[in-house]
Symmetry: C2
Subunit: 220 residues, 2 copies
DNA sequence: CTGATGAATTGATATTTATCAATCAGGAAA
DNA sequence: TTTCCTGATTGATAAATATCAATTCATCAG
């Protein structure tokens, strides 16, 4: 991996455009990166990647085009590993292969969970379970600050910012209180009854592949 | 893999229940299997697996609970490989590991495509692109038979059967004609303009992981 | 402190999608 | 052939969600 190198990116830069050849595996060292999908003029947030995680692992492995674009949310430091080096390593280091297998399998399951939420829950339920899940990541705190802008959160949850705003308002009769970006869970039981958290959707998985970050790590 | 064995299942049997421990990797030899997700009384189809494909690979690798249930659609013959044997193989056979890495990466990308369709396209667009994609799998035929029941297709596409039925009717003014389970594309250009097929959503991927089957193969 | 900028909220409305109920159609079994 | 069952369709309606427009709010540069 001698030819790997680190690089800094300014905020708001679309560093990867979906469809481009996956020449490098990316590893976030500092900052955060939004993974987004575009189609016919529309776009939506698929995940936010925070240190230390890889992204677009699957594309690098298959030497295939990126399925998502990547845009820095803040100043971000990233290591770039040539995909060909990555693939060459599989035949040199068995333990490395096993690690990659595990990482891929974990990521895979993470996307499946995501798809389950999208198909089985309506937007109110998605919001409620997201907020409860974040509370858990914050050590079960009843109050915490949203790790991402609401606009981005709305896109991640598959809804419009307006709809998220109204949904948060509606949830005030179900044990939630918002104060700007601050979340206050006033009645955890009530909110939980509505969100119906589920191990097979919200985790945790045996190995934690969500490193306290705002949105699940993903690997194209 | 000496302790693997084949088994036959009757139609309509829920052979795997989500949440169960993933003791076996499953390989479909004959028949077809529906992968479905359940939550709070609701359920939806995530994929249909046809021969010859594995499913629940990721769960087997991580020794984690299945994220989806599996139900036979017809009489089905399946090989069961103990997950522990599978994991042991990684350290014995490098080429096997590389194959699994590629299989996982392909499956991963397949689920991401799925999530993109769900988030970026509305139901009419999902239906149109599904039908065009199937036409492609049928060698570009203008007419073919739906490979699955409409009820199941609706669930897979994230809509109700009623909505699918109405959507198919609406599409008759956009180059489509239905006759029972038969699809007839009367104006491919018009339908294509509506569906806006996209390589990064509808494939094909470099390696074909959809073996002419009805719905994309998936591996929990 | 002030203006400018983008996010967030709110209201009004339209569109999409689901739900419920009632047929209708087609295939399997008697 | 007839019966029965399940899936498919259709209609009427309700609920969920998006869109568009107008403020309000927060933050940051000057």
């Amino acid at each position: 991996m001698a030819s790997s190198y680190a690089q800094n990116f300014p905020p708001g830069l679309e560093m990867i455009r979906q469809g481009d050849p996956a020449d490098f595996l990316h590893i976030v060292l500092e900052g955060s990166v939004e993974l987004l999908a575009q189609w016919g003029g529309r776009e939506c947030t698929m995940a936010v990647v925070r240190p230390v995680s890889t992204f677009i692992l699957a594309a690098s492995i298959r030497d295939a085009p990126y399925l998502m674009s990547a845009r820095t949310l803040e100043r971000t430091r990233i290591i770039l590993v040539p995909s060909s080096d990555l693939r060459a390593m599989f035949r040199r280091d068995t333990e490395f292969s096993v690690s990659v297998i595990n990482e891929l399998a974990a990521g895979y399951r993470s996307v499946v969970r995501n798809a389950k939420t999208l198909k089985l829950r309506n937007s109110r339920e998605r919001v409620a379970s997201y907020l409860l899940h974040q509370s858990l990541l914050a050590g079960g705190a009843a109050s915490y600050i949203l790790p991402v802008e609401k606009r981005l959160l709305a896109s991640y949850l598959g809804m419009t910012p307006e709809n998220l705003s109204r949904t948060l308002k509606v949830l005030e009769s179900d044990g939630l209180k918002m104060d700007g970006a601050r979340v206050i869970i006033t009645d955890r039981e009530k909110l939980t009854a509505l969100a119906q958290p589920d191990k097979l959707i919200d985790g945790p998985d045996s190995a934690g592949n969500e490193s306290g970050a705002g949105l699940p790590t993903s690997h194209i």
